[in-house]
């Protein structure tokens, strides 16, 4: 057998809210280089925020990522509320949790059905799948539409929510509309989730394991998305306010996305990291789903991130039913958030020089926003740490460990598996398309 030698350049396979290339260089059966190049145009959100009034931050940072726009809005609001010591009402927190879980459901469904499923059935995209597997696409569209409608009802719109504000909501859902959504979710849980689980129980997940540091929010009260302390499987639990002790962003020349690394080693954030820490707190049907899909914590196979997303999406539906039913029972209080001409309500505590951190789990992992606010209510300084940036170093480590294990396979198979590994991290929606430009070194 000849020794594998090739250089592979996968253009636009992966992106951090943008475009990315995967570069693999193998000479005489030896791995020379694995690199994930992020070539996305830099956006400069942090300097854009500086000098703007703090209530504009949630609106602006939502534009960092369409798919996670509710997550960014909430991380931003929580950073501001942390800085100004604002305590939102219980009803506000419940509605925020619902909006966040709806967005996570939407993103997960998009990834595992629209983007991963075509791979599992050997189709290039979801479009031909609409003809060959119409039932799969119809299920995906139905689940996605439920999450769209919940986001619209609670957040006013998705992507780019309008009614989620600092200290509350400017508009509240109606109980009758919530009831319809609850019924639709219950129907999805009984009719659409079982065949979804059958589908993903039947797909084959490549065998690969590499134990890494798993980092997620955790809370004694629930499977944490909205708030919690920051837990690492290697370095233990810290307050989210101290996130800089765990996360350090580095400028890497081949990437416009800054790589975030723990003080010692690369780490993983996202569905599998959350599952590994918090799986005991999953809702009952989600727990049963994990069992059916043979996913047990701790799991060290990054290909299983997709499977963990399937499990989380079941949990999202159950949680939203539970939270909505609680609201129906107590009725919704009309406590709408106000905003004045300056952008903030007089009900807020006095605006003063302050500092705050907001940490929220979004589909791809924990997201941090940190702001310094000055006496005039202007943002002096902002820092946003995106989940995919945190995963980049870990993805490269995985690729380094995985390539030597599959060098006996054909070039095409190797590239397919490496792309699949990168896609499993769901770096962003468009990373899942794959256009290859491969050069062999002869």
């Amino acid at each position: 057998m000849h020794m594998q030698s090739f250089e592979s350049n996968v253009h636009h396979i992966t992106r951090v809210e943008g475009h990315g290339n995967l570069v693999v260089d193998v000479k005489n059966g030896e791995l020379k280089e694995v690199r994930l190049d992020i070539v996305e145009a830099p956006r400069f959100f942090e300097p854009m925020l500086a000098g703007r009034r703090f209530p504009e931050a949630p609106h602006l940072t939502a534009r960092i990522c369409g798919i996670c726009s509710i997550g960014h809005t909430l991380a931003s609001i929580r950073a501001i509320e942390d800085a100004l010591a604002i305590q939102p009402t219980e009803q506000t927190i419940i509605l925020r949790k619902i909006a966040l879980e709806a967005e996570i459901l939407q993103s997960h469904v998009l990834h595992y059905y629209f983007l991963a499923a075509p791979d599992f059935v050997g189709a290039p995209s979801v479009f031909p799948l609409a003809i060959s597997h119409p039932e799969v696409v119809k299920r995906a569209v139905k689940l996605k539409k439920i999450s769209d409608d919940i986001c619209r009802e609670v957040a006013g719109r998705h992507p780019q929510p309008v009614s989620i504000q600092i200290d509350g909501f400017t508009n509240l859902p109606k109980v009758a509309d919530i009831q319809v959504l609850v019924d639709r979710m219950k129907e999805a849980l009984s009719q659409d989730i079982p065949p979804t689980l059958d589908f993903f129980a039947s797909v084959s997940i490549p065998a690969f394991e590499r134990k890494t540091d798993y980092v997620a929010l955790t809370s004694p009260d629930e499977y944490a998305f909205y708030s919690g302390t920051l837990i690492s499987s290697e370095t233990g639990e810290i307050s989210a306010r101290d996130y800089r002790n765990k996360v350090k962003e580095e400028v890497v020349l081949h990437s416009t996305a800054k790589h975030a690394k723990g003080p010692f080693n690369p780490y993983m954030v996202g569905a599998l990291a959350r599952f590994n820490h918090n799986s005991e707190q999953l809702m009952p049907q989600a727990k049963a789903a994990a069992e059916k899909l043979k996913l047990k914590a701790p799991n060290y196979n990054p290909f299983n991130i997709t499977i963990a997303q399937v499990v989380e999406s079941v949990h999202n539906l159950e949680r939203m039913v539970m939270l909505f039913e609680g609201l129906i029972k107590t009725g919704l209080k009309d406590e709408r958030a106000e905003r004045g001409v300056q952008g903030w309500s007089t009900k807020l505590p006095p605006i003063k020089k302050s500092w705050g951190v907001g940490a929220v789990e979004v589909p791809r992992g924990v997201l941090f926003h940190e702001y310094k606010i000055d006496d005039d209510g202007l943002i002096a300084n902002a820092n946003c740490v995106i989940p995919t940036n945190q995963n980049l170093a870990n993805i490269e480590e995985d690729l380094r460990a995985y390539v030597p294990q599959i060098l006996d396979k054909s070039k095409e198979e190797i590239i397919f598996l490496l792309e699949m590994l990168v896609r499993a991290y769901d770096p962003c929606i468009s990373c899942s398309s794959h256009l290859l430009e491969v050069e062999f070194v002869s």
């Binding site: 636009h12 809210e17 943008g18 070539v39 145009a41 830099p42 956006r43 400069f44 942090e46 300097p47 854009m48 000098g51 703007r52 009034r53 609106h59 602006l60 534009r63 960092i64 990522c65 369409g66 726009s69 998009l110 629209f114 983007l115 075509p118 290039p124 995209s125 979801v126 479009f127 609409a130 696409v137 569209v141 996605k144 539409k145 769209d148 719109r157 998705h158 992507p159 780019q160 309008v162 009614s163 504000q165 400017t170 508009n171 400028v251 800054k258 709408r336 958030a337 106000e338 905003r339 004045g340 001409v341 952008g343 309500s345 929606i429 468009s430 899942s432 398309s433 794959h434 256009l435």
Partner: protein
Amino acid sequence: MAKPKVGFFSFTSCEGCQLIVLSMADRLLELIDAVEIVNFREASTYKGEDYEIAIIEGAISTVREIDEVTKIREKAKIVIALGACSCTGGVNVIKNFKNQNIIRKEVYGEQAYEFDTILAQPIDAIIHVDYYSRGCPPSRDGDELYEIVTAIIQGRKPYIINAPVCVQCKMQDNVCVFHKERPIACLGPVTRAGCDAACPSVGNACEGCRGLVDDPNLTAHEKTLRENGLETPEILKYYRMYNGLMEVQK
């Protein structure tokens, strides 16, 4: 035009516009029937170069993007700009009002010179655009884009309202935000309608994401903002949220 081939392209943006396209759910399946999607990087592996209609999201903010968007224009018969970033430059333009060397260093440190970045611009600063589907995100869950594509297939002019947001806001029975007990600054009087006044209808105000209406009465609007207590720096910041390049736009 019989079953036109469509390509979706993405530049500097949050990619939320393509998400809206995916959210068109049932209509997406209908659209698959009426057009052939040959290039949709977000959702598909296949990358065809034989598109007739190019739908482009995102602003232009690197030299590489200028080359790419120029090539797309050469191949496509019809170009549709999708979303605020593509139509007005969107929020990306905010960075244009900062010292570029300083902000690059703030984000990328001493290696800042390594990164390709220029002032953010709408795509029509570089190429000719045939149709605009505006808004951040594209208004009314993609209805306007759907209307444009349908009109192209049917060989007619798309119906796109040319009036300020106030017109549609009234039709939603909203109390004017300037008349509320605690007024909110609103760009509705000078912003192009087409969104059914989505933001004022849920207790917020218009931030101008659809760009300025033809012939906006900016003087009167500025006066109203001042009467409600806003001063020049705030007014400018407000306009520069989505319309930083208004003075150079048609």
